[in-house]
């Protein structure tokens, strides 16, 4: 069993990333407990260990880590608000790379299983979903 230090050096090595002190502490801050964290939360945690770290370094390295698969981005977010007039319940297909959104038809959700998994009190009246993947253009390019 390896320490989290060793684990990070390993992952960094495999991704071709230099295993700097800052990257080490950022990674460990995210891995310290399961959860979904913002750059500011990570910044706050990391500063306790390394007060001189810059917020830009947090952003730089979170992006790097996500790109190299060391971390996962929770919600691929479009940069801007999008609205539509189609009020018929329907789902969306979102490209994680270029953020393009298109409609997707079909009943591919098992609502019974879904509501069985939802926590008590969570309102799933008409649950809409977003499915993430890579659009044709992006999967061709990469």
């Amino acid at each position: 069993m390896q320490t989290s230090h060793e684990q990070f050096r390993d992952l960094a090595w495999k991704s071709g990333l230099a295993a700097t002190h800052q990257r080490q502490v950022i990674y460990e801050a995210v891995m310290a407990a399961p959860g979904h964290y913002s750059p500011e939360q990570i910044y706050a945690a990391v500063r306790r260990q390394t007060p001189s770290i810059s917020l830009a370094t947090i952003y730089n390295n979170l992006r790097l880590f996500v790109e190299h698969g060391l971390l996962r981005e929770v919600s691929p977010r479009t940069s801007t608000l999008l609205v539509e007039g189609n009020l018929e319940p329907h789902h969306h297909l979102v490209c994680t790379r270029c953020k393009a959104v298109q409609d997707i038809e079909g009943d591919f959700i098992n609502y019974k299983k879904l509501s069985r998994q939802a926590p008590r009190g969570f309102d799933l009246t008409q649950p809409l979903v977003e499915v993430f993947g890579l659009c044709r253009r992006c999967s061709a390019e990469k």
Copy 2:
């Protein structure tokens, strides 16, 4: 059959919203063709009819329309980036109101049906989804 003017005046009336000229043209710009539109796109389209309109009015009224159900917001977006260290494929449950994100377990996706619906070339290797609803607190409050 009613004109789109009449349709909007109807909807506005039902929602208790004043049917102003600006609201009329904003609504019609979104309804002119099916699609997912940003405030800037709508602004550009509307200015051709009503050059004096303000971008703030676009934002104000898109929000109002979404709140009153005249339009749908395509992707409920968190204000900030969120990352996590859990790389095991899993889905998320997102509150459309407070944007809280939590993990949801379980196999409630029919991948066969899903990939049958996806457009040609869309890469759905390991499709992750976000399910939208209202968390306990928000569904209690409202």
